[in-house]
Assembly symmetry: C2
Homo-oligomer: 304 residues x 2
Amino acid sequence: MSDKVCVVGSVAFDSIETPEGRADDVLGGASTYFSVAASFFAPVNMVGIVGSDFPEQEKDFLASRGINLDGLVEAEGETFRWHGRYHENMNVRDTLDLKLNVFEHFAPELPQSYRDSEFVFLANIQPSLQARVLEQLVGPKFVGADTMDHWIEESRDELLALLANVDLLSINDSEAALLSGTGNMVGAAKRVLEMGPDHLVVKRGEYGALQFSSDDVFAVPAFPLETVIDPTGAGDTFAGGLFGSLAEAGEINKKSLRRAVVYGSVVASFTVERFGMERFKSLTRDDIERRYGAFMALTDFHGD
Amino acid sequence: MSDKVCVVGSVAFDSIETPEGRADDVLGGASTYFSVAASFFAPVNMVGIVGSDFPEQEKDFLASRGINLDGLVEAEGETFRWHGRYHENMNVRDTLDLKLNVFEHFAPELPQSYRDSEFVFLANIQPSLQARVLEQLVGPKFVGADTMDHWIEESRDELLALLANVDLLSINDSEAALLSGTGNMVGAAKRVLEMGPDHLVVKRGEYGALQFSSDDVFAVPAFPLETVIDPTGAGDTFAGGLFGSLAEAGEINKKSLRRAVVYGSVVASFTVERFGMERFKSLTRDDIERRYGAFMALTDFHGD
């Protein structure tokens, strides 16, 4: 029986424009993307807030993935909405509109049934809220967190206090540079590991990911895709696959971590093939295993 | 007995400024970097042109690496000189000064002893000169080429004519995008392979390399380095390690190609640790094998 994963973060409706087209008001948010990705590996306890406009059919979709929605609070008002547009190369995006709505007063409260979750992921929200969630948990086995440039710059002290209690930080390369003060990722990792986490995972988009631990460095390329429709959610599904795989393994060691980073990469590679969460409506664990095998074939230079 | 590698390209003196310091009038040029890198694996026949200012001690260094200098022509005048400055992140550089000098009238003529070289690399020079070299060879086993944005834009027809006779094209990602018309590397590879080459290697600097063949895709990350002093020559030593390793293997197959791409990455990772060719003055094949092992450890997620 797999360990349980608990995740806290945003739930949103996204309107997304990319060079490949557009999608309006599709289900998004870090907590949602993470939960769906992790659900292929382990039971997921999802925490978030939605407005009274949140449709039953979206809850049905999440429930169909086996995700526990006891911690998905419905508040008076509208759900968080984001409207963004990606540049031609898809590595850069502009936020055209952002309405926090009910998310502005998000004060996560874990249902009693969530409090013994073994694997916890604090997606990108205010560090003081991430800390508040940690306090409500009873001795989690492994805690991960994400953050962003805004908190690194504006809430650095709260973030550093949080990092002292985090086992794995999963951020992108520009965030790692901002947090550490160096753009060299080996140097950045040394400094971040000194801040508390035992592991740093650096997401590099189409270039893959690096995982640094005190005694290990692991690098995996991104899966080369001919069709990239929408990068939204790639980082959150990467973290979801990573934590789902770790919870399924139930233990943290060099092998389980490396496999988890690859599973994260696999799941993220599916995410970007369609708008929003579209790809996850038909994805199966078999699809994931097949692409995991393709990752082996992509990177292996040991055998014949 | 290893097959022989023949390379044609520039020989230069570089003045290099990076955030880590500067080096003035150090030995450089694509033919030079390639030859030194390949010399750790196979006999190298080097083709190039230098001025009457080219010091004996530089020839001695090249000869000490076992490189055949019969094709290194000395002409009246000065050797090619380049002065460049790298930006803070080392991915971008500006050319501050460039004097072609004797290189301007380079018309490569292969010594008789070079003409049966089995492995040939046409480093980045005018495509018509690359073709001229090919014509002088007697049935080479495997031909590689590099090029740059200038030739892709200004000499496209000559370049396409050359590519019909090239087995492997080794270029960076922006060149692949420019040549193919798409920034998606899977799509770019399809189009480049239709132009003639059986293999495309896309160099991505600190992110590693991709190798595309009609029936294979291979990805390798760059070795994460804490110390990056000078990126000059990384791409040329990558190609040198790649072709040296292929010549040592003597045959082209999925396994020898993948190993060669990793050896190229290994050699390039040493290049950037010092200014110019400094690192190669003390480098040994044992150093290379140790880092090849470190690459295995960096990328493996199959074993325990």
